[in-house]
């Protein structure tokens, strides 16, 4: 018997024919594919048990993460505030020192001027001494 492929694709066309031997071989090939597939299809399968996270665990983790993130953010914020505070205090201190220094310098100037008024302005030059004596006598009289 000679087989091939016909109009419906089942047997014989255009001289491309298979003989009985090939038909038998192809039948065996199909039988082997069927048997293998059937065995593989119905083999027991090992299913890996994947532990799914419950929503409670997930919520716990989420909450934990929020708390940790909050603490870190809060800590950093506080640290920044402290730094800012120290910087402000230092600036205030520097300003106070500057003001104090200016005040000190002003009072020193005033003292100097006063000293000039009392000591220098009342000191009579030598050339004017006779007049100064006359004034003193007039004052006595």
């Amino acid at each position: 018997m000679r087989i091939g492929i016909d109009e419906s694709g089942r047997t014989g066309f255009d001289g491309e024919m298979t003989d009985a031997k090939l038909e038998q071989v192809l039948g065996n090939f199909k039988a082997s594919a069927d048997a293998w597939s059937e065995a593989a299809y119905s083999r027991p399968r090992t299913v890996a048990v994947v532990k799914h996270w419950s929503w409670r665990a997930a919520a716990g983790w989420a909450l934990g993460c929020v708390v940790v993130a909050g603490s870190l953010t809060g800590g950093m914020h506080e640290r920044n505030l402290n730094k800012e505070h120290v910087r402000t205090l230092a600036a205030q201190r520097a300003l106070q020192q500057q003001v104090a220094a200016e005040q000190k310098s002003t009072s020193e100037d005033a003292d100097l001027l006063a000293a000039v008024d009392t000591d220098v302005s009342q000191e009579v030059p030598r050339a004017m001494e006779p007049l100064a004596q006359l004034m003193d006598e007039d004052t006595i009289r």
Partner: protein, 192 residues
């Protein structure tokens, strides 16, 4: 036939969805072994065949609403399986596996599955060797020729069904099948 005046209650969207889901389950149950067999004989890799079968039905499920019944469900599923298989081989990473064939079973193992029937030991050995030769020839076929050959001689589909599943004309299918058969015959005949 419905009696005149009988009120027809329109099917709710949920009921239609349920019906569609049930129908899909039936299609899966009916055709899963066949799709698996085709993918197994194409890849000679049980794990890969299982993965591709899963993907095939997943894809079918996603597109189930779009299935218009222009071809049989089997042909539609086979078309998806063929495309998945094609994509798989085209994948660069998988090209490596195709060349090394580390995951697929060797030809001896594939031909071990031949049922003994009522054959003598000698006949069994001969048949096993011949089947091994066919597997070897199938391995050496081009991707398209292999698909067509397997659809014809393992899935026993006719030319029209193969043409629909592969998206080729019947003439092209015939030509590819002829070449594939020629190579198989040469492989088996060369050994005899």
């Amino acid at each position: 036939m419905m009696a005149a005046g009988t009120a027809v209650k329109p099917m709710s969207a949920e009921a239609a969805e349920d019906l569609s889901a049930q129908e899909f389950v039936r299609v899966v149950e009916a055709h899963r072994p066949q799709i698996f067999r085709f993918l197994l004989s194409s890849t000679r890799d049980v794990d890969l065949a299982e993965t591709l079968t899963q993907e095939c039905f997943l894809k079918a499920h996603r597109n189930w609403a779009g299935f218009r019944g222009e071809s049989t469900a089997m042909t539609w599923l086979m078309r998806i399986a063929i495309n998945l298989q094609k994509d798989h081989w085209r994948n660069r990473r998988m090209q490596f596996w195709r060349h090394t064939r580390t995951n697929s079973v060797d030809l001896d193992e594939a031909s071990d599955w031949l049922p003994s029937g009522e054959r003598s030991v000698e006949q069994q050995l001969l048949a096993k060797e011949q089947v091994k030769r066919v597997w070897k020839a199938v391995e050496d076929l081009s991707e398209r020729q292999r698909t067509i050959f397997l659809l014809r001689y393992v899935e026993e589909q006719d030319l029209g069904e193969i043409a629909q599943a592969t998206g080729l004309s019947e003439g092209t299918v015939k030509a590819h099948l002829s070449r594939a058969l020629h190579k198989v015959r040469a492989e088996v005949g060369g050994w005899r």
